[in-house]
Symmetry: D3
Subunit: 225 residues, 6 copies
């Protein structure tokens, strides 16, 4: 996995995260003010949108802007990324600023949602630093870091980070979002074929915990560069 | 929790499931044929749509048909219900028939998605029986039963089936879908406030396992009536 | 015909009206304030939305929220219900409050629009009482009651309240909305097959007048309970 | 009222109908084939769409294509025009041909929907003649003629064909569609202010009957030219 | 080419421009105020919308309001008309007023976009005069006039104003918008078949310059009437 | 300007074109078959879609998929790219294959549409080579190459390839698309401020001709690598 910071010139933070053949461009745009329902609260807001370029997939997929509506999967992943990042935000320290994350999949080969969360955190950290450098905030709105990993069971064996061809054969698919301190932010396990038992669930959780520790270290190294 | 079967006259299966103040009407419509991408495969299909009536919530919510688009939460829950039911379907035994579940929340007071899954399974079982009685299928497309429960941590204590007022204060919220045999179909845990540790996760899972056993029994009792 | 009041817990007024196999849930939500174009006028507003659940019909109908647009029939009936209720509203006595009626057809077997109007009036009366009990208004915004009935000609014979199977064979179909005082609010007659003459029109009107007297009494009895 | 036939060059039938300041362009396009649900039935189809140009009204109205959705009033009138014309069509004699009427209001000053029906009938008759001249049909699909008029009560007095400034003050507004033989196709009466009694309804119907006789004669004269 | 002013009664300026079989109705609506992003600037705004009636074309085209979205061609032409008119507007002299041009094609036979611009200028001039007569502005917001013409190469020969049947066989198609003073506002040349060389481009430009001089004179004559 | 081929793994052709700070990802997806209206003709089809990522601009722009509609500018540029590429395609040699170009702007700093065309041609050439290598076609569907450049007048001086900050001050803006043989495919000149005269137009065309020769050479070099 490689994390390239400052891939764009305009955004407050931007990261190209690559992971096997998967490439996700994560951009964090910071702007003063918050959505209407939050005005005057003194609290900030962080939100996210996820999308795939049409040619990012094996077979070209239609553009959602052309279809005139966002699909269920896109909605679901956008919401997951937003929730995951908000888990490490202190809204009060952020003040009435909004940070909008855009995670656009340039090429997809499995694990795009977890790569997006992992990259988006780094872009978010850069955007926070940018806001601090411009004097838009003074405290520390980040209460920790967050990273995500996908694990699955293939032929009965729990495995980390499946590429697409293996992902489609997985019996169980699980996405786990964890903080740098090793706590869970989100656990989403789905039986694709047969239902799974508690022992399998425990094995997947253990594998994911280990994987998130590695990702967390890679994030810190990228931010230290 | 009460499950009233045959609440509607037209649908192949229909259930009004009530749970505290929550009321969800689950209707299963059966029709010959499958979506285009599945034609000629000999396999059936099961899908689901979830929606809330505008006046079902404390404060009236706008109608999605009037807004002209389906929100992310609606999409997400519709997909969850569909996946959960498909986990206990043998597509081959179903043959080229489609069963469409409609879960409409008439009144919402927490746990609507898990009530919807639990009720939808019963409506699905009735629709399968209906298809069998009309000769549209002969085997058994149901490989088991499925039920769902929500659990959460409030003030540090894991709790079952939170009503809305408690749900909004929950630190962690988890929806668990299990088969009647006690295996997991879906686990979705979300840290609403602070991230949760492995011990808390285990406590929630244990509570959910126990709750699903009870729901599963209630489903069997309803189907036996 | 049965009218069950307070079928929901959250709405200011709510009624389940049943009529043959037809079941319509009518909910009245009251909120302070009026639409933008009416602000500062001192006048209130009453509006309505009608919709059918997908499984309410003999053959499942697609969800309008999924299609992304509201059909002509839905639009037309929503407007009819709104106009009918506004005919018995004194906007000044209502003050700058809005009452929104939601009429959702849970099961359809003919006469859903007239059942919706008849039930919605009762929910509206309950919502007005609720507003008075909270001190949001003091006078009487209701200038009368309103009820609606459908009549039709089958095989040359005028008939009241046709169920769906007869409705589709009707030569002429008429919906009549009347006040409790026996005046007309809306008359909508449509030749489905052959055009109708004045004598047939008069016979239908006479039948509708009689039917509305009965409905009006049932409304008063329900409100007296 | 003036009716100008063949106002356009491409359409099978086209009429500019003027009525006070109201101008409606009615075009009938004929094409072989019918909608999918009617294929192979041997029966034809007639349908209509109504719309107003943005600058047709006193104050410019937004374009529905720009808003991305058709409003309820537009839907309602389009359906009314279609039903009215279909009342004088023998689908079998029409054969599997479709005639699509487009009624576009170039300038609006009251009575646009009734002018549209009256003009559309003439365009429809021309389109039928055109189909006959090309050999696409041989029999007579028109079973009669159809015309429409609006009547209203102003200051207690029933009046024909109100211009817009009077229409908005009308206590009751009624649109009546009749065949050339003096039978009713559609009666739509609406209390705008106070509800109306049977005597007022009768007076309006009598006035409308007389008005439709005149319109019917004007249509025949135009077609004879 | 004929230009009929004041074709409508409500709009501040309105023109029916006819050109071969092409008929475009251009209406200019004036209203106080400007779009939100321009408020308080002291500057006015001019914008335009173009559309075709369904029956205006040889074969009926679907209504964009029914399709729920505006097509690319419509968007493109609306933007071109707006830009062309704004080229002769002094926003400061216009003050915070908005003039909205609606160019609706009643019948299409080639050159609709250039006819629309040419007619819209005359409607705009009338709207400006109207604003002056009501005291809404005192200076002269028009810095000149603007007209447009289409030219093309057919069988190697440059030609002015192609009707539709010739337009579709043109090898190159060019739309040119010019001021009354003979300067260019917009040049849009497109190779439909083979690419064109500089000599052909020069021939087309020369032809267009000549054509615009004629149109400009016709506009002045119409305004002088 | 740099052109990086094969930037993606799945698409038949893909190019990252960079130009100052502008970065556009051009992907060509090839698929057997053509749109319905072209089936059975033996002819191929080439089409294009253009879009900007939200964070590509100085200030984040809203996502068109979220707005539910494509803006006029996007439509216009998509159409321009498609037309430009089709100018060098021999549909017969392409056979019934479709090549879809997706030009996604990752970062925008002026000249995105011309960069998109220039890059898209290279991706198209790679897609054609890919189709040939798979045996999907045997002849040469490319009749030449195509490149595009933007030129403008700033402070009275014609200039090539303006970055965004200069582009907004340009008095005249022109986009020129040319073949490798030096013929014009598209000329689009727009007066942003004052109208331009023939001498200025000639100066811009001369500059563009020179620029396109350079771009054409860069394309050939990239394809030769």
């Amino acid at each position: 996995m490689t994390i390239t910071r400052n891939w764009l010139d305009h955004a407050a933070g931007s990261v190209l995260i690559e992971f096997g053949k998967t490439k996700v461009l994560c951009a964090a745009s910071a702007s003063p003010g918050v959505p209407r329902w939050r005005k005057g609260s003194g609290l900030g807001w962080v939100t996210a949108e996820y999308a795939m370029l049409p040619a990012s997939t094996n077979t070209r997929s239609d553009r959602e802007s052309v279809k005139g509506r966002i699909g269920g999967r896109t909605h679901e992943i956008s919401r997951l990324i937003g929730r995951s990042l908000r888990a490490v935000i202190d809204y009060e320290a952020l003040g009435e600023n909004t940070i909008q994350l855009d995670c656009d999949v340039l090429q997809a080969d499995g694990g795009t949602r977890t790569a997006a969360i992992t990259g988006a955190y780094v872009a978010l950290a850069d955007a926070v630093a940018h806001l601090r450098s411009t004097g838009a905030l003074t405290g520390e709105p980040l209460t920790g870091s967050v990273a995500a990993i996908s694990v699955g069971i293939i032929d009965g064996v729990p495995r980390l980070d499946l590429p697409y061809v293996e992902d489609v054969r997985a019996e169980t698919d699980m996405n786990v979002v964890m903080t740098g301190e090793g706590k869970f932010v989100e656990v989403q396990g789905t039986a694709e074929g047969a239902a799974f038992d508690r022992a399998e669930l425990d094995a997947l959780l253990a594998l994911a915990e280990k994987g998130c520790v590695d990702l967390s270290r890679l994030q810190q190294e990228a931010l230290a560069r």
